[in-house]
């Protein structure tokens, strides 16, 4: 497969969030691996922000890369952190330059064999959710075309992650809504059963359900379900 074909294939794979087993770690591991395969990059890694706002290492193309990213977070300095904070790319950073931006991080990176680094934001409009780190053996970073390609991959992955988050949230809310509606329905059904069996009006039937729930420390919907399904005999209801 040519480089362009592999790049196109990767874009499609990253965009496909509707697969049943969508997983953020898998998605970002794929992104890190393909950066190394398709672009002129020695190692790639991704960090995402956790709900508390701190960055976490999510995926790395190699173990050396993973350790370096962990060091970056611990030492609180490095290209990924700067990129995440500003939301802007951090490009063509020679690590061997004297008096560089990140003295501790640069020393550690050079020890691991890397001489330059680029960092690209994972950003959609206002929200920055993480950053992509690209490390090179040589000084001088990578060609402009590769930077554009890497940013395109990061953008697609960002959209996929945000869509996935939105859909999880929508699903959870919809489940809550259905649960609440089901509870309402079953309570009305139980009122009907009691109204008929005990010759009550709907208000009295509701009061009886609620009193039994309070007296026995049961949720109203559970009492109602017992009545509707016949597991809680009407004669056992206890108005207190």
């Amino acid at each position: 497969m040519t480089k362009e074909a592999l790049l196109a294939k990767t874009l499609v794979e990253l965009a496909d969030t509707l697969v049943a087993d969508f997983d953020v770690v898998d998605l970002l591991s794929l992104l890190a691996d393909r950066c190394v395969e398709v672009l002129d990059v020695a190692a790639a890694g991704l960090m995402l922000s956790a709900p508390d706002g701190s960055l976490r290492v999510i995926a790395s193309s190699s173990e050396a890369m993973r350790l370096l990213e962990l060091f970056e977070i611990q030492s609180e300095e490095g290209p990924c952190l700067d990129c995440f904070r500003t939301g802007e790319p951090v490009l063509y950073q020679d690590l061997s330059a004297p008096a560089g931006r990140w003295p501790r991080f640069a020393a550690e990176a050079i020890r691991a064999g890397f001489n330059s680094v680029d960092a690209l934001p994972m950003r959609l409009r206002g929200s920055v959710i993480g950053a992509l780190n690209l490390f090179h053996l040589e000084r001088g970073g990578m060609p402009g075309a590769d930077i554009h390609a890497a940013q395109a991959l990061a953008d697609v992955a960002t959209i996929a992650i945000l869509q996935h988050r939105a859909s999880l949230e929508a699903r959870a809310l919809n489940e809550q809504l259905n649960h609440a509606l089901n509870s309402r329905v079953i309570i009305e059904q139980a009122k009907g059963v009691l109204a008929e069996r005990l010759d009550l009006d709907m208000g009295e039937a509701f009061a009886l359900l609620r009193a039994h729930g309070r007296n026995h420390n049961l949720r109203l919907a559970d009492v109602a379900q017992g009545v509707v399904e016949g597991t809680l005999p009407v004669s056992a209801l206890d108005a207190g």
């Binding site: 309402r184 059904q189 009907g192």
Partner: protein, 240 residues
């Protein structure tokens, strides 16, 4: 598309007037899409759960018919997960909805359309639109209807997001018609005939259909003790 959607949402949810949001939502559908009337039906499983809002009596009747008969454009849009288009219900392109069509035509419905209320893979119900003249939706109307169905889905989830766990959001509870009397009647009929509430609902629907009444009317008659269903299918009940 995204910003259009959020600006509509903002208009519908956030202008601080006292009018119930859901009413505004339905009216916005009529104004933006340019149809005679609109309604939003909440569904779960393959069952209509209740009407969130309607813009006029005919829209309300369209929802009531579907609720009574269990068939129609909203039911199909939701179950088949696709927009349903019938440009002239009096001379339908696809013969369907044998029970729904005659009464709908009789009250003046010609063009009728159903759009699933959807966010990603989550479906909450359907938007129904009708016109009192025959004719297809233009491409633009179709596109606007898709956007408005998405807006409506988002609005429902935003409203529900503020509810305490297990409860229905107060705004939904206040404005939607969840046909509670139908569930009360189901409970009463279940107790009268010694059948499950699901079976009781089928009997209520059959009675409504067989007597050209709405499910709500029949349910109200049962709850008011003006009607008692017979154990032996006595009152013109067609087979469910």
């Amino acid at each position: 598309m995204h910003s259009e959607r959020s600006s509509i949402l903002h208009r519908v949810l956030g202008d601080g007037t006292d009018e119930l949001e859901t009413k505004r939502l339905c009216r916005a559908c009529v104004e933006i899409i340019g149809v005679t009337g609109a309604g939003i039906m909440l569904m779960s499983g393959d069952v209509p759960r209740g009407s969130l809002c309607t813009t006029n009596e005919i829209s309300q009747a369209i929802e009531e018919l579907q609720y009574t008969l269990g068939e129609g454009p909203c039911v199909d849009a939701y179950n088949l997960d696709t927009p349903i288009v019938e440009s002239d219900l009096a001379n339908p392109s696809t013969p369907r909805w044998v029970a729904f069509t005659p009464p709908a035509v009789e009250i003046g419905v010609r063009g009728i359309f159903g759009f699933p209320l959807q966010i990603g893979a989550v479906r909450l119900g359907a938007l129904n639109l009708y016109c009192d003249q025959p004719g297809p939706l233009t491409d633009e109307q179709h596109a606007q209807a898709v956007v408005m169905a998405g807006v409506a889905a988002q609005a429902v989830l935003i409203l529900q997001a503020g509810a305490p766990p297990g409860a229905l959001a107060a705004e939904l509870d206040a404005s939607a018609d969840f046909q509670l009397v139908v569930h009360q009647a189901s409970g009463m009929v279940a107790a009268q005939l010694n059948v499950s509430v699901a079976h009781a609902l089928i009997r209520l629907r059959a009675h409504a259909f067989g007597n050209s009444r709405t499910l709500t009317e029949v349910a109200r008659a049962v709850v008011e003790k003006e009607l008692r269903l017979d154990a032996t299918n006595g009152e013109k009940d067609p087979l469910p």
